[in-house]
Symmetry: C2
Subunit: 218 residues, 2 copies
């Protein structure tokens, strides 16, 4: 195995421009293949979950040999780790009145899920694969938790220096439970009434819920 291959496991940003990466690392001829593998992997993991998504099927989708997947990503587990790199891209909602935060969060997550199936792949895989579940906890800890904390602090539920009025971690957990429950019933289990509701209806119904978990009281 070429010594350079090992270092290339870390994937670039999900939706980032494949061209114009770090100019210190010249583009390689295999970059297109790498990207094709990653794209096929995300599709398969999202559609089938970790176990049913086979290396052979992913390689067929990417129109290459299964052994190439191993050469570039080392193992199925590391391929999944690369394919499950996910950035929620949570904005800071800086110019939004505090009353609209819940609805804005619901809308942002709906948009994010529909434009990038990585999160669905993670959700499907996380139900059975411990590593995928760990990755979801990490995304929660690194992205959801801090964002919710910042929003709560800004809106005055908790002060940056002092004691939080209510544990912010639990607020983030409650918000996640509702948002992931929506993703589960809408995109994975395909529960008919949830699939049938449109974006505006979901924002209207779930917005106040998230709003209360974020800033309200039981």
């Amino acid at each position: 195995m070429s010594p350079r291959d090992q270092g290339a496991v870390a994937a670039p940003g999900v939706g980032s421009d494949p061209v114009a990466a770090d100019p210190a690392v010249p583009p390689r001829r295999s970059d297109a293949t790498r990207a094709a593998i990653l794209r096929a992997a995300r599709e398969r993991f999202a559609a089938d979950g970790y176990d049913r998504a086979t290396i052979r099927a992913i390689a067929t989708d990417a129109a290459i040999d299964p052994s190439m997947v191993m050469r570039y990503y080392g193992s199925k587990e590391r391929l999944f780790a690369a394919a499950a790199e996910f950035d929620l891209r949570l904005p800071d909602f800086g110019d939004l009145p505090a009353e609209g935060l819940g609805a804005a969060l619901v809308g942002h997550f709906l948009d994010r899920w529909e434009e990038d199936e990585t999160m669905i792949a993670l959700l499907r895989a996380g139900a059975t694969n411990p590593a995928a579940a760990q990755r979801m906890r990490q995304i929660f800890a690194d992205q959801v938790g801090p964002a919710i904390r910042a929003l709560a602090v800004r809106a005055g539920v908790s002060s940056p220096g002092g004691e939080p009025a209510l544990p912010v971690e639990q607020r983030a957990g409650l918000i996640t439970s509702q948002l992931l429950g929506l993703a589960l019933t809408r995109y994975v289990l395909l529960l008919p009434p949830v699939v049938g509701m449109d974006r505006a209806e979901l924002v209207d119904w779930l917005g106040p819920t998230i709003q209360r978990y974020l800033l309200g009281r039981p």
Copy 2:
């Protein structure tokens, strides 16, 4: 294969007394084995999901040969169908004031999940297995939907004969999204803040949410 074996695939009620079944069908010597298989299957499906739960592992847990599983249940798919038989046991909350329905529902689901891992098995398997997802939709249609409809009618949101004030199916879908999201984050993904909350806290926080989905407005 004995002709009687095929008919025995349908499992008895989940927590029902294994003795004193239909007296027309005399108990068989293999009933204990059947029950042991079913118990081991539920544990394995709940812990590992459909794909990772192997017939061999289930048979080992039940202390019998894998071929017995095939003899009694025909195939892995039919074994899962038998093990995933699930009764939510939703009460009608007859003597409860309408304001307490949301909290009562949350409490009932929490109790039900903790006393019977079948629902967790279904949730884990439903994320990747289409048949399991179909079963979840069926449970929703047969048990959750009608129960929510009855509660909503009783509390006056919808009248039995007339036009519902708001689609009751969507109310049931929203309730399911929050309750399954709780199960997912608490029992499957093991999100720390959700795992750390106790029953009373969860009822306090989620109760008003379910209450609004059941009887309120966006």
